[in-house]
């Protein structure tokens, strides 16, 4: 089957880069081509924030921080199926996060009151940290975001210039920004400049190098808190060995399992099913934008995603569902009606196709404090 492609000329025009953010070996291709690839991946964040603002503007989502964290002049109205997809992805992850944080009424009192930690991988311009941090002091959390320095610089610049965002972080004298402007540290919110691939290699070398970006992580992340790891379309851009290495860095180096360790949860949001007609076209289309979904074939199905969690030792539970299922089963009828009423969504078949090619997978490792709230969530029956 031919896979006609409409290359994104803007992406291509950015041209071969200088390899500023290349990892420490282990990557094929020249320095310049891997630098170019990195920039393309960094650019995907822009896509996501523009889509989020579109969904907020049309009333799909409520997010007071969406406008501030979307680059100026980028506002575009997305197609209804993209808006609905953004809605389902965001609300489903919100629900998982809320349950993890004990924000739901049925959560265990001992779990509810415990301080918790979220580590978001490749967070980019995500607004979730601000949405949650604004719930303090009722909610006791620390939020870490990890991303390329270049993405952080942009975000930190916006935070500096936006009083609304600053207020969420608390007293200005508690907020420290590095000279390079690529890291931010405050009591409850940290932005770390990390090329995730270096974490993967750290697992291999087991080195504690002071110059290593992961060093500050070790220092600032509290290994004794119940912790939730988030990867929204992030690990999928890494090579399979790097993607596994990053998770292992957390499960082994930062949060080694022991008698006293606390619950460690992981939520993934990524494309699946690359082998049918839609999936093949998706892979080809993204390739023309220079985007390679490197672990897509490795974790091609819901079953493979669950197995991935098992292999990483998330033995408390492993679950997965595609976005089509989440829309059908997780969104209440009344809410579905509200969302359907926002825009005429004519392309039902296309929606199903698209939504069946993205999944959310979640799993956890038991800790000393009892964590139950993910158990009763409905997941998609195994098809493979």
């Amino acid at each position: 089957m031919s896979a006609p492609q409409i290359p994104n000329l803007n992406t291509l025009r950015r041209g071969g880069g200088r390899g500023r953010f290349r990892g420490r070996g282990g990557h094929d291709g020249s320095a310049s081509s891997s630098g170019h690839k990195d920039r393309v991946v960094q650019g995907t964040d822009n896509d996501a924030s523009v889509s989020r603002l579109s969904a907020v503007g049309l009333g799909y989502l409520v997010d007071p921080f969406a406008r501030a964290l979307t680059p100026m002049g980028q506002e575009t109205r997305r197609l209804p199926i993209i808006n609905r997809g953004t809605y389902v992805r965001t609300t489903a992850i919100d629900q998982l996060v809320a349950r993890f944080l004990g924000l739901t009424e049925d959560s265990d009192p001992s779990w509810k009151t415990k301080k918790k930690q979220i580590i978001s991988l490749g967070a980019g311009s995500d607004t979730r940290a601000f949405r949650l941090l604004s719930l303090r002091p009722a909610l006791d959390i620390v939020y870490h975001e990890l991303d390329f320095a270049v993405n952080n610089t942009a975000k930190i610049k916006v935070i500096r210039g936006t009083p609304m965002l600053q207020r969420v972080l608390g007293r200005p004298e508690d907020v420290k920004i590095t000279d390079a402007g690529d890291e931010l540290h405050s009591p409850a919110y940290h932005i770390h400049a990390v090329d995730l691939r270096t974490l993967a290699q750290k697992v291999e070398s087991n080195a504690l190098d002071a110059r290593d970006p992961g060093h500050r992580l070790h220092e600032l992340v509290d290994s004794n808190l119940p912790t939730l790891l988030l990867s929204e379309c992030c690990l999928i851009y890494l090579s399979p060995s790097d993607a596994a290495g990053v998770v292992r860095y957390f499960t082994h180096n930062l949060f080694p399992a022991s008698e006293t360790s606390e619950t460690l949860g992981l939520i993934l949001y990524e494309p699946i099913r690359p082998d049918d007609a839609f999936g093949r076209t998706m892979v080809a289309n993204l390739a023309t934008r220079g985007i390679q979904l490197q672990t897509l074939h490795q974790y091609a199905s819901l079953g493979a995603q669950r197995q991935r969690f098992r292999e990483h030792g998330f033995d408390g539970g492993q679950a997965a569902a595609d976005v089509d299922f989440l829309w059908e089963r997780w969104v209440a009828e009344e809410e579905k009606e509200r969302v359907s009423g926002l825009e005429m969504l004519d392309e039902m078949e296309e929606w199903k196709l698209l939504a069946q090619h993205y999944c959310i997978a979640w799993g956890w490792r038991e800790g000393s404090t009892r964590f139950n709230s993910w158990r009763e969530l409905e997941q998609q029956p195994a098809e493979e």
Binding site: M1, P4, A277, T281, M344
Partner: protein, 425 residues
């Protein structure tokens, strides 16, 4: 060479015509369309096409596969615009062909031929981008209001002449023609036969499932006879019967419409309403349900096999052809062959990876080419003389599907401007 022929040549090259010419074209088209009834009568042979959605290069591929206008008689079931990057070029070309060869091409309205939908799904933006103002969009929308709501194909043949041996079939002539006569045939864009089905006698009433063929495999048996001879095994059995008419409509049926005549009573010259018969015809979908159901699209209804069977029986129809829904295999027959979805936009939105199809209905020459007009005339039935004897001998038309893929990559232009957010990243 007339101005119109020049415009056609220019549009075929995917180049737009000046705004003044668009205005004139739309005016002429409206004059022509206003004369058409809500339900246009079309004589077989005809090639029926589904959604195009501005995929201009794929429309060119369609003409390559199905033959050119005016050599081939075409019926397009709407959704010419939106989603693809070349809605203007596609729609204006079809409109030019309509004005140039009014008897060789029929255009009916899809749910995207609407002011409201085109502002959401891209056609409006494309007009602004390519012409610098909303004028051309306004001219086109005025034409949309005059498009017919449906078509009735008359005189289609129940016999399908074989195009040759099944592609990939290595057994060669093992089955007898006892199975029945050729009913459907699926060809690829090179004209090679991918699949055949035969009429079963007697037709099993239990066989109520939908058929949707595998993408490439030849599934059925060969009939005897040299390739291309169209061996006519089952031919003489049922000579007295005739093929019912084929109703073509973009979406489907409406609970407010129980006869084709009722479609004729609609005042169609308006924007597509949010509800009512006209809306339903453009928005509804068949589904595996009993009776009527709510549509997840928020407009139109879902309708089941019983509704289709009842409607076809009451209206002497042998088939409803409709578009509106993406089907990965290009076409999908449902309800014992009572309705078919035809989809003509390959790799829809440059993203879905589907193939496209067109449906060819042959001409019934058994009566020396005369067409039974009964179904086409307004108020033809007074409800008394429609004998059931006649109805039982209604036969479904032979159906030849030509399946094709998206046009080759190098013929496809670049998007005019901003890339779309195709995926979640």
């Amino acid at each position: 060479m007339s101005d119109l022929d020049r415009a056609i040549a220019q549009l075929r090259a995917c180049r737009l015509i000046p705004e003044a010419q668009v205005r004139e074209l739309c005016y002429k088209a409206r004059e022509l369309l206003i004369e058409e009834g809500n339900v246009v009568c079309v004589d077989a042979p005809v090639t029926i096409c589904g959604d195009i959605h501005g995929q201009f290069h794929d429309l060119m591929e369609l003409f390559r596969v199905g033959g050119d206008v005016p050599d081939t008689n075409y019926l397009f079931m709407g959704d010419f615009v939106d989603r693809g990057f070349y809605s203007l070029e596609s729609f204006l070309l079809l409109l030019c062909l309509k004005v140039r060869y009014p008897d060789r091409i029929t255009l009916i309205r899809g749910n995207h031929e609407s002011r409201q939908i085109t502002t959401v799904y891209g056609f409006y933006d494309e007009c602004i981008r390519k012409y610098g103002s909303a004028n051309v969009w306004r001219y086109c929308c005025e034409v949309f209001d005059y498009l017919a709501l449906g078509a009735l194909v008359l005189g289609a043949s129940s016999d399908l002449e074989s195009s040759g041996p099944s592609y990939n079939d290595t057994t060669q002539s093992t089955m007898s023609t006892e199975d029945g006569e050729l009913e459907t045939e699926v060809l690829n864009s090179k004209g090679e036969v991918l699949m055949k089905t035969y009429k079963q006698r007697p037709r099993s009433s239990l066989d109520n499932g939908s058929t949707s063929p595998p993408r490439t495999q030849s599934q059925t048996s060969m009939r005897t006879g040299a390739p291309g001879t169209g061996a006519s095994g089952g031919g003489g059995s049922n000579n007295s019967s005739r093929t019912g008419a084929v109703l073509c409509v973009h979406g489907g049926l409406s609970p407010l419409i129980d006869t084709v005549d009722k479609i004729r009573l609609i005042d169609r010259k308006q924007e597509v309403p949010h509800e009512g018969a006209m809306c339903d015809l453009l928005w509804s979908d068949p589904d595996e349900i009993d009776g009527w159901g709510l549509s997840p699209r928020g407009a139109g209804f879902l309708f089941g096999a019983d509704i289709v069977k009842g409607f076809n029986y009451k209206n002497d129809l042998s088939l409803i052809a409709r578009a509106h829904q993406l089907v990965m295999e290009g076409y999908k027959e449902m309800f014992d062959g009572g309705i078919v979805t035809v989809w003509s936009a390959p790799n829809y939105c440059y993203r879905c990876g589907n193939v496209a199809a067109i449906l060819e209905l042959g001409e019934d020459t058994s009566n020396g080419g005369t067409v039974t007009r009964s179904n086409g005339d307004y108020n033809r039935s007074n409800g008394i003389l429609t004998g059931t004897v006649n109805k039982q001998t209604l036969r479904s038309p032979g159906r030849r599907y030509r399946v094709f893929e998206a046009a080759a990559q190098d013929t496809r232009g670049m998007p005019a401007k901003k890339p779309v957010a195709d995926y979640f990243l």
